[in-house]
């Protein structure tokens, strides 16, 4: 069976006029189905850049990225939309809920793009919101929720099309300890059900939930260890 994610000699160079930032330098990485990975490293080390490329939101400058055997660099924008829709659920630090749109509708969105029937969409959204403990808030607007609640909506939305991969870039960055704990418990149980989770974090307590920790510095992987390795 092929690897879920296979990255070879990946480079990302940002050009801003004459200034060039080499954000990823010859990154090689393989990820299997069902892994729970924490990516760590200093600010500016390239963690988010890698996450965006894995999530098919951005393209590498050079190198190869295969997702389930598909060469992502050869795909059109609309094909990438389809891949994101089917395979990837995003959870961002800034929650990224659609404002002025109730949370039920927010959770429905990925299913609308997947052309799921309206009645089925509603039912699944309700189930997901109940699962994250917000079954009684479906008609609320995002700005009426706390940070932890918003992030739970974002997770529910990420799960809408049951993607095999969840990408979470500092999902607990804006949350207090208790909320962070709750969110991580949700990720843990998702992973137990077989979903791959890749998350970026600065906090060792958060990274402790993962089975594998990858550490970045200056755009390169300096450490890649299975559980019990890095944790002091």
């Amino acid at each position: 069976m092929s690897k879920m994610i296979s990255i070879k000699n990946l480079n990302k160079i940002y050009k801003n006029g004459s200034v060039e930032v080499h954000a990823l330098k010859d990154v090689n990485l393989e990820i299997e189905h069902g892994e729970f990975i924490a990516i760590m490293g200093q600010s500016g080390s390239g963690k988010s850049t890698l996450m965006n490329i894995i999530g098919c939101l951005d393209r590498p400058t050079s190198g190869e990225y295969l997702l389930d055997g598909i060469d992502i660099s050869k795909q059109e924008q609309d094909d990438l939309s389809l891949i994101r829709n089917k395979k990837i659920g995003f959870v961002f630090q800034a929650f990224n809920l659609i404002p002025r749109t109730n949370i039920l509708r927010n959770v429905e969105l990925p299913m609308i793009y997947a052309k799921v029937k309206s009645s089925k969409r509603k039912q699944r959204s309700m189930e997901l919101l109940e699962k994250v403990g917000l079954g009684d808030r479906v008609n609320h607007l995002p700005n009426e929720l706390s940070g932890g609640q918003k992030q739970r909506v974002a997770i529910a939305r990420a799960l809408a099309n049951t993607p095999p991969i969840i990408l979470a870039d500092e999902p607990t960055g804006n949350l207090d300890t208790q909320s962070s704990e709750d969110i991580m418990e949700i990720f843990k149980s998702l992973n137990n059900d077989g979903t791959s989770v890749i998350l970026v974090t600065h906090e060792p307590e958060i990274a402790r939930f993962a089975d594998r920790v990858i550490v970045f510095r200056d755009g390169a992987i300096i450490e890649d260890s299975q559980k019990e390795g890095v944790l002091k």
Partner: protein, 384 residues
């Protein structure tokens, strides 16, 4: 609030289109009514463009008979175009009376609604009877009742006082708009036999002619002109033939021209409205760049985003169209009620107006929507 301002252009454009179209329709309807009142196949003929008149240039009673004879079925009525005015008093009541001098058969070509008695008939004309048919308002003012038949009134005709027997009372049913256009006349109407009102050797200046329904009005007119010119030893240019039909065409032309002018203004305001829509959509696309990024990250394709924004701009301008339609109708209704013009609003023009404003929305919304749809997901997500 901002969207309302944006829609203003569309609202003004659409409401002026609706207003113009319904004013045009209403005017046409009114004009048709007016010309029906006057008589569609009615024509006037008069002596024209003569430097030195000869007494024979005018129309004599004998001439009328000759023309009637000659043109037979082609004309349904021929009489002098004359009326006389006189004050009439009965006891303390005084009325200014306008006496229209008619031949018999006038009521066959023009609708005259008799309330009491009868209209001027052939024997009145043949015998030069001293009779009169009053409009009901004149009867009411003179005798305090409508049925004044059998009464006698004293009027001045050609400087002689004459006693006329009222043989009928009718009701003037002309359209309110025509009366409005003619203004408030101090004179009340009536009909008298023309043979009684003028001496038999009198030369009339103008003729009132009704052409038969199935005849081409202007052709018959030209024939009559040629015939009379020959009779009078004059050239065709010395007689003028004027038809109500031509008149109507000219007026319709003026209304049409006005409509085109105002339609141009409306088109410009629609264009401005469309640009307004484009502007607000561009602003909205920029403001919602992040939202577009989020949607793309969730799997929205180019066309999903495109449609979202197209539907938004179409909705925006369709609302503008609906509001514009309503305010346009309201405006016309208001104006119509002030000048008591019956308003015609064509439902098709409403449908077209709203559909058209949606098309404007789609057309001017396309560029902003395309811009939104093409947004690169990662840049859109990073947008602050």
């Amino acid at each position: 609030m901002r969207s309302l301002l944006t829609m203003l252009g569309i609202i003004i454009g659409i409401s002026s289109v609706i207003a113009i179209v319904s004013i045009g329709d209403s005017m046409k309807g009114v004009m048709d009514d007016i010309y029906k009142d006057i008589g569609k196949n009615r024509a006037y003929m008069y002596v024209y463009n003569i430097e030195e008149f000869r007494s024979t240039d005018f129309f004599f009673m004998d001439d009328l008979e000759v023309v009637k004879e000659r043109f037979g079925d082609k004309i349904t009525y021929l009489g002098p175009s004359e009326s006389l005015r006189s004050d009439v008093s009965v006891k303390k009541n005084t009325v200014k009376l306008n006496m229209i001098c008619v031949d018999s058969g006038f009521d066959k070509v023009q609708h005259v609604k008799m309330l009491y008695g009868r209209m001027i008939n052939k024997s009145d004309v043949d015998r030069k009877s001293k009779v009169i048919v009053l409009e009901q308002k004149a009867a009411l003012q003179l005798f305090n009742r409508e049925n004044a038949t059998g009464e006698v009134i004293r009027v001045k005709i050609n400087n002689y006082m004459e006693d006329l027997l009222i043989v009928g009372v009718y009701k003037n049913e002309e359209s309110p708009v025509l009366s409005l256009l003619q203004g408030q006349s101090p004179y009340e109407e009536s009909y008298v036999p023309y043979t009684m009102a003028f001496p038999s050797n009198y030369g009339f200046y103008g003729l009132d002619i009704f052409i038969a329904e199935n005849q081409p009005v202007s052709d018959v007119g030209n024939e009559i002109v040629s015939y009379i010119a020959k009779l009078k030893n004059r050239s065709n240019e010395n007689y003028m033939f004027y038809t109500v039909e031509e008149d109507q065409e000219t007026l319709n032309g003026i209304v049409g021209g006005m409509s085109i002018a105002v339609a141009c203004i409306a088109a410009i305001s629609l264009l401005v409205g469309g640009i307004g829509i484009m502007n607000i959509m561009l602003v909205s696309v920029t403001e919602r760049t992040r939202e577009i990024g989020i949607k793309k990250s969730l799997g929205a394709r180019t066309k999903d985003v495109l449609f979202q924004f197209l539907i938004e701009s179409a909705t925006l301008s369709a609302i503008g169209g609906v509001v514009g339609t309503m305010s346009g109708i309201g405006l016309v209704m208001l104006g119509g009620s002030i000048i008591s013009l019956p308003i015609v609003v064509n439902p098709i023009s409403i449908i077209i107006a709203v559909a058209f404003s949606m098309i404007i929305g789609v057309f001017f919304g396309y560029y902003p929507a395309k811009k939104a749809a093409k947004a690169d997901p990662i840049n859109a997500l990073r947008y602050e």
